[in-house]
């Protein structure tokens, strides 16, 4: 059977009509991964035995007249900072190379209950810190559209797995753009839900006031289907919100979508934005206008401060969250003469340079004497950035921006210059600081490297951004 071009709905129909079984489909995916992943390196580990057993259960349920539900039998890839009980979970760090998860993340339990199949764990920047997946301790992932280029990061393995059709969908985590940026560079859809929409229980925390889990998919409709299952309040994550998405998430109506007003912030069309990216975003504006959507120029005046604000707040939280990785509780333990040396030795050998840099930077901005000038000030700037969005959303319903300043860059191009790497996140970071939802959608009618556009919505109004996205895609079907 041919697995190219399959989507969640196509698989669902195939299973319902018994055109193929879940087991046949799953083994096709493993055959393809074994052929394809040698050149892409999207996966850190495969879970073939577990996945085949999952698929047999899906088939048994179908035979018994139970299901399949819409996600039953859907082959998915999972970022390696999300826990699946019994499987290795390394966050692409040497410090966790021997660690096996002792419980399931809430999102994994939800997908398990829905009958989704987990093919394996995907490569990433160590502890989700990076924009190219080059910070993995284990391998470099290649962009399926040009193997000499990065897939973006930190969820580069998940993006590359979906873009190369080794998985129908994938999970990633997004702290400053780690779903949307690789989605844009690989040409997939990538959704960062509203802060609080999806439980983070069982995902390794990076920066807790910013992290969200979200899906990579081949089209916008599949992203909406996954969000519906992934979202909801969880007693195990105190920041999760009692959100219940309505019918407009899955079945948007053009008459409602036409009523939405889309703002285009002038601060995102600045020096450093690739001309071709800018031109393509302008084509998207025209396409949305064709749908009957009104667009207008708006201003988010504190945008230029977002990068500095983020690179203070995020490392501060990282330095606290990563303190638990010290050789005491998880995975491998290097021996030392005393306790302090044991911590130091394990952390020295276990963490890569970017993790160390961010831990030290976070320790600095929180330390006595510097706290007010850096961390305290950044928290105030964060309030101003959120206020920009609050003000803009009084006037418009959705904001349209580029996702990245340029298409995928070459492997090694920015690896030695952390600031240049950080600057590749300038258009995605403000969204996390404000806690609003945003989706990256591939620009259609584009011949070169993939380019994404970003739709940013009001808190818990994923239905608006995904609704516009679905009708945009229909223009090109």
């Amino acid at each position: 059977m041919d697995i190219k071009g399959l989507t969640i709905k196509k698989i669902h129909h195939g299973l319902v009509k018994k055109e193929f079984s879940s087991k046949e489909l799953t083994s096709e995916f493993f055959d393809f991964i074994k052929k394809e992943d040698g050149k892409i390196n999207a996966f850190l580990s495969l879970a073939e035995n577990r996945a085949m057993k999952q698929s047999e259960l899906v088939d048994k349920n179908i035979a018994d007249g139970k299901g399949p539900g819409i996600l039953g039998g859907i082959p998915m890839a999972i970022k390696d900072n999300i826990l699946i009980e019994g499987l290795h979970c390394t966050a692409a760090s040497k410090i966790l190379k021997d660690y096996k998860a002792s419980y399931n993340a809430t999102v994994i339990n939800k997908l398990n209950d829905a009958g989704a199949i987990f093919l394996g764990k995907t490569n990433m920047d160590e502890f989700a810190m990076g924009s190219s997946t080059e910070n993995s301790a284990f391998k470099i992932t290649h962009n399926p559209h040009d193997l000499e280029r990065v897939p973006g990061g930190s969820s580069g393995g998940s993006a590359a797995a979906v873009a190369s059709e080794m998985a129908i969908a994938a999970l990633g985590s997004d702290t400053g753009g780690s779903i949307r940026q690789p989605a844009a560079l690989c040409g997939t859809v990538g959704l960062k839900p509203t802060y609080g929409a999806v439980s983070r229980y069982g995902v390794m925390a990076m920066a807790s006031s910013l992290d969200q889990i979200g899906p990579f998919t081949k089209n916008v409709e599949d992203a909406a289907l996954l969000l519906k299952t992934l979202s909801g309040q969880d007693i195990m994550d105190a920041t999760s919100a009692p959100v219940k998405f309505g019918d407009d998430l899955l079945n948007p109506k053009i008459e409602d979508i036409k009523k939405l007003k889309v703002g285009i912030p002038e601060e995102y069309f600045v020096e450093g934005l690739d001309k071709n990216v800018a031109d393509k975003i302008n084509e998207v504006v025209k396409d949305l206008e064709k749908l009957g959507i009104k667009t207008k120029k708006i201003s988010l005046p504190h945008t230029k401060y977002a990068l500095s604000c983020y690179y203070i707040i995020m490392p501060a939280e990282v330095s606290a969250n990563l303190s638990r990785f010290d050789g005491i509780r998880y995975g491998h333990r290097e021996k030392a003469d005393n306790l302090i040396d044991l911590y130091k030795k394990n952390r020295e050998l276990g963490f890569g340079p970017e993790s160390k840099r961010r831990i030290l930077l976070g320790t600095f901005v929180l330390s006595s004497g510097y706290y007010d000038a850096y961390y305290g000030r950044a928290q105030k700037v964060r309030a101003l950035i959120k206020q920009d969005f609050d003000e803009a959303f009084k006037d418009v319903d959705v904001i349209l921006t580029p996702v990245t300043p340029t298409p995928a860059f070459k492997i090694g191009e920015k690896a030695d210059d952390p600031l240049a790497m950080y600057l590749s996140d300038i258009f995605t970071i403000p969204v996390n600081l404000a806690g609003v939802p945003a989706v990256s959608i591939p620009v259609k009618n584009n011949k070169g490297l993939p380019i994404g556009f970003q739709l940013i919505g009001k808190h818990f109004r994923e239905a608006d951004i995904l609704g516009i996205g679905q009708f945009y895609e229909k223009l090109y079907n």
């Binding site: 009980e85 096996k100 002792s102 419980y103 802060y195 609080g196 006031s209 910013l210 105190a238 920041t239 919100a241 230029k304 401060y305 990068l307 500095s308 604000c309 690179y311 203070i312 330095s319 303190s323 010290d326 005491i328 509780r329 998880y330 995975g331 491998h332 333990r333 005393n338 306790l339 302090i340 911590y343 130091k344 952390r347 020295e348 963490f351 340079p353 160390k356 831990i359 030290l360 320790t363 600095f364 330390s367 004497g369 000038a373 850096y374 305290g376 000030r377 950044a378 928290q379 105030k380 700037v381 964060r382 309030a383 101003l384 959120k386 952390p418 600031l419 950080y422 996390n432 806690g435």
Partner: protein, 96 residues
């Protein structure tokens, strides 16, 4: 804002329980200087009277009843420990 030097870097490394390989020290300092230099732009911004945003959500904390729960089986968490004894995490001595 602040200057960073090798003395401060060593102190931070001590606080963060990280050892910096001496041959990487110069690169760390250089990167820090360029990153902290970028942060200078924040000092131009007037933030007087702004209430800091201290988390990612506007949800209010809800405290639950503090109930006693006896857990006899620590389960698979223990299996993931590098060293365990009788179901407890084994650590090197803190006091000699």
């Amino acid at each position: 804002m602040a200057e960073i030097n090798d003395k401060i870097l060593k102190h931070l490394a001590e606080l963060a329980r990280i050892e910096i390989d001496p041959k990487n020290e110069a690169k760390f300092l250089l990167d820090f200087k360029s990153i902290l230099g970028h942060f200078e732009e924040l000092s131009n911004l007037d933030t007087s009277g702004v209430t800091p945003m201290t988390g990612g959500t506007s949800l209010k904390n809800v405290a639950r009843e503090d109930e006693f729960n006896e857990i006899k089986d620590q389960g698979k968490g223990v299996e993931a420990f590098p060293e365990a004894k009788d179901g407890y995490l084994k650590v090197p001595p803190v006091f000699e």
